[in-house]
């Protein structure tokens, strides 16, 4: 053992480092971690306490029945209004109007689903926007899609 002094010191150093790590770990872990699984349990209640931003499907129809009827007849029938417009909370809270609903930029919103992508199913309606606009002798503007399509019922 006389000639293993350096090894003993190295092992001691390692034990001290491991102890410091365990101690640091004890203070670094949030208290509610691991109650339900490998995450902070308190985050569940924190998220639950947040006010919902989106209304349910059909929550717009109460006031905007005209647009809802047009939408119900077209291919966008199953699309939530909030997919293209903003979340309901910017417009209505507790059945009271709190601000204007954002009007989206059509070319941007349409491209989310209809810009041609190799990875989209072939049967899904999709176009290369620049050439589609050129084919119809239109000029590329933010609202060019609305020249021919009705956003609430695009096949109209």
């Amino acid at each position: 053992m006389e000639h293993a002094k350096h090894i003993i010191r190295a092992v001691l150093l390692l034990v001290i480092a491991a102890t410091l790590f365990v101690l640091a770990r004890h203070f670094a872990i949030p208290q509610s971690f691991g109650v339900y699984g490998a995450y902070r349990a308190a985050s569940v209640t924190e998220h639950a306490a947040k006010e919902p931003q989106h209304g349910a499907a059909g929550s717009c129809a109460g006031c905007h029945d005209e647009q809802a009827d047009v939408k119900a007849e077209g291919k966008h029938a199953n699309l939530s209004c909030e997919s293209c417009h903003a979340p309901l909370a910017v417009h209505v809270r507790d059945d009271q109007k709190v601000g204007p609903m954002t009007i989206p930029t059509p070319i941007e919103v349409c491209s989310w689903c209809h810009q041609k992508l190799r990875a989209r199913p072939e049967a899904f309606p999709q176009v290369v926007f620049a050439s589609h606009v050129a084919e119809h002798d239109e000029t590329m503007t933010d609202s060019v899609c609305l020249e021919c399509h009705n956003a609430h019922n695009p096949s109209e």
Binding site: H6, L14, S111
Partner: protein, 398 residues
């Protein structure tokens, strides 16, 4: 105008594992390969490899130090990285990296310390002031260089290296396992994946050590040890042959079975990855160096030292490129076809200045090399001749 976004299907649109995830198995491969090479000397007593025994270990540490950079750059939010260390999720294969990495780092540092202990004591005795205190701390205040203490060192070193070999195999086999375990991806999901990753890791490790050794000797005006280089060439040739055979066997099995996944993997290799797979991984990176190393191994007696060194250097460079191409083809190749196997997405080209860009990838590759140079300033990476070691190596006052 937004090109895409807000669409739930399909989910194969983006290459999510980009250049940094190509770099990650590449860099950890260099770590494991260099370590396994060092163990050939330290454990299996291949004495002809003595000149690179230390270099291999230090290179392994250098690349290990910077390996997490790849993951941190890929994930972003480096400030959250400690979360994985303090709250590891035992059911996550990815989170296991923390344990494997920490254990391997401890082992490697301990081994390097033991290998350099005699030098640390010698330098402590020769230096003055802060430098002396620094070396004194490194020596942990013990200046025992007696044959008995060396015997103890050797015994501990053997145990550490004994644990280190399976450790290195696990470290890299594990990286292969991460890909192999993605059962939804037929290009990854094969039990051969860990073995292929491990073998190519050893190839890249040996190749890297050959290059570092050649450059190190050139800059220190010393002669490359011919038996050492010959032995390195032999090991490299053997592991390159095994590695490339396994890579080919995997593809041959897929092609011969011709199950439904071959419909997409065939065009993937022959068309989408034609340049990086056929051109680099198979021809330039594998066939050419195997021929060059074959010449070194089989026609050794006809070669001058200079020709042998040049052939080994060129073959090593090409094999480093081959292993990188193999990582690229696995990581990127596995993401450019649709998981529904219906087709391919556009090819992926990394940006130059991006958090997963080419510039940072080069930096991650260069930083370990700078570490080795820095390390060499503190402790010699190349073993000094015995004569120099003994002179002046006394027991400094404590």
């Amino acid at each position: 105008m937004s090109e895409h976004g807000g669409y739930l299907f399909p989910n194969d649109l983006h290459i999510l594992w980009q250049l940094m995830i190509v770099m990650y198995p590449y860099v950890t491969g260099l770590v494991a390969g260099a370590f396994i090479l060092s163990s050939l000397y330290h454990v299996f007593h291949r004495d002809e490899l003595r000149p690179i025994g230390r270099l291999a270990l230090v290179a392994s540490l250098g690349f290990l130090l910077f390996a997490p950079f790849t993951l941190l750059l890929h994930l972003g939010h480096p400030e959250r990285c400690y979360n994985t260390l303090v709250t590891p999720n035992l059911s996550s294969a990815m989170a296991m990296f923390g344990f494997i990495y920490a254990g391997y780092m401890t082992l490697l540092v301990a081994e390097i310390w033991l290998v350099h202990r005699q030098d640390i004591i010698m330098l402590a005795s020769r230096s003055e002031g802060i430098k002396r205190t620094f070396y004194k701390c490194l020596a942990l205040g013990v200046y025992d260089v007696s044959p008995e203490s060396r015997k103890v060192d050797h015994g501990v070193l053997l145990i550490l290296a004994g644990i280190g070999i399976p450790g290195a195999a696990f470290l890299h086999g594990y990286v292969g396992f991460i890909f192999g375990a993605v059962k939804a991806n037929p290009w990854w999901s094969t039990p051969l994946m860990p073995i292929i990753f491990l073998c190519s890791a050893i190839v890249s490790g040996i190749a890297m050590v050959i290059i570092l050794y050649s450059i190190g000797m050139k800059f220190s005006n010393r002669k490359i040890d011919a038996p050492c280089m010959q032995s390195l060439a032999r090991w490299l040739w053997m592991f390159a042959l095994i590695s490339i055979t396994l890579e080919l066997l995997e593809i041959m099995t897929l092609a011969y079975e011709a199950a439904e996944e071959w419909e997409v993997i065939g065009p993937l290799l022959g068309d989408q990855l034609a340049f990086s797979f056929i051109g680099i991984q198979l021809i330039l990176g594998a066939m050419v160096p195997i021929i060059l190393l074959g010449i070194v191994v089989l026609m050794s007696r006809y070669l001058t030292d200079q020709i042998r060194n040049t052939l080994c250097f060129v073959a090593s460079l090409l094999l480093l490129v081959q292993v990188f191409a193999m990582r690229w083809n696995v990581v990127i190749g596995g993401q450019i076809f649709s998981k529904s196997m219906r087709g391919f997405r556009e090819k992926y080209t990394p940006e130059l200045f991006d958090k997963e860009g080419i510039a940072l990838a080069i930096a991650i590759f260069v930083l370990p090399l700078l570490f080795i140079i820095l390390f060499n300033r503190v402790l010699p990476v190349f073993e000094q001749p015995e004569k120099q070691l003994s002179t002046g190596a006394g027991t400094p006052s404590q």
